[in-house]
């Protein structure tokens, strides 16, 4: 299955069903991530219950240095 991850068509790794699965698999630092799911903010406690579907848009954001 393919999703659009940060603007790129990306193959969802096997076994990743929810946002939570993906974040864990990718070993991203959960504490600082901001996830936008189909243009809506997905709060952290909702990650385990959001089941990814074909062509879903996922934006994984974080705070960086900026002026």
């Amino acid at each position: 299955m393919f999703i659009i991850l940060n603007g790129k068509i990306t193959k969802l790794p096997n076994g990743c069903i929810t946002i939570n699965d993906l974040v864990k698999r990718k070993k991203w630092n959960q504490g600082s991530l901001i996830v936008e799911y189909n243009n809506q903010l997905a709060k952290k406690d909702a990650w385990p219950s959001i089941i990814l579907k074909e062509n879903d848009r996922l934006e994984i954001l974080k705070f960086v240095g900026g002026g």
Partner: protein
């Protein structure tokens, strides 16, 4: 006399605001904050680089600072609004620096889109600090739109060219009742002091500190310059001219009363 800067209902202890981009290492940031005494610190929101583990900038900003996300990357009002909402939802508080830029050469802000974004976000309860080109009419519209301050540029972002827009900023300071914070362009502490002497409420500095050979020392210098400039402003300018009035040519007739 108590000289406090209040923005969005918060009393701000330091009139130097710090941008966190371009530092050689994020690990310097706590030291820079400590050396300069800054309380308001800006950050940006970006897509995660999916291939590398990155640091979380917020982890380096001391907890008692006000984190002000900017909307850099936004090219219009809708994008700025979206970024601001995401940042707030991510726990950033309700401060936001609106930054809408479509010009990639000089990185000059789009005042028109900035006003639109300010209106929407202020109505949602954000404390909105818009980055802008110093234009009086735009500043008035931002004030009407509910901005908590206006942040005119002194020179293009990152240029370190100083207060090139001084006369325009002076007009904003005179005409706008909101705090005027000079953002962008300030390259040296003396320029920060000059902005403060002129009556700016605060200055936001990033590149000049982040790219100094010794960012911590430069941050300390900026902190002191801002304080010195503010103190000079409050001290009031000395009398620059004395009017001799021995002969009272204009009002002498009143003595006959």
């Amino acid at each position: 006399m108590i000289d406090s800067l209040v923005i969005g209902g918060r009393e701000i202890s330091s009139r130097l605001f710090l941008g966190t981009g371009k530092f050689p290492s994020n690990r310097l940031i706590p030291e820079v904050v400590a050396a300069s005494g800054v309380q308001v610190v800006t950050v940006a929101l970006r897509r995660v680089d999916l291939d590398f583990e990155e640091e979380n900038i917020a982890a380096y900003v001391p907890g008692d600072c006000i984190l002000m996300p900017n909307t850099s990357g936004a090219r219009n009002a809708e994008e700025a609004v979206r970024i601001a909402r995401l940042a707030k939802a991510a726990g950033c508080g309700n401060w936001v620096k609106i930054e809408v830029i479509t010009d990639n050469r000089y990185l000059l802000p789009d005042n028109y889109e900035t006003i639109k974004a300010t209106e929407i976000l202020a109505a949602e309860g954000f404390t909105v600090l818009p980055y802008m080109s110093p234009d009086l009419m735009a500043a008035k519209r931002l004030a009407e739109a509910g901005a908590a301050a206006v942040m005119p540029l002194g020179a293009p972002i990152g240029s370190n060219r100083g207060l090139r827009t001084k006369e325009m900023i002076r007009i904003l300071i005179e005409e706008i009742s909101l705090p005027v914070i000079v953002d962008a362009g300030i390259g040296r502490p003396s320029e920060a002091a000059a902005a403060m002497e002129m009556g700016a409420a605060a200055v936001l500095v990033n590149t000049a500190i982040a790219t100094a050979s010794d960012p911590v020392a430069m941050a300390r210098a900026f902190g002191r310059a801002v304080e010195a400039g503010r103190t000079a402003y409050l001290a009031g300018p000395g009398e620059t001219r004395q009017y001799a009035s021995a002969s009272s040519p204009l009002t002498g007739f009143l003595r006959d009363e």
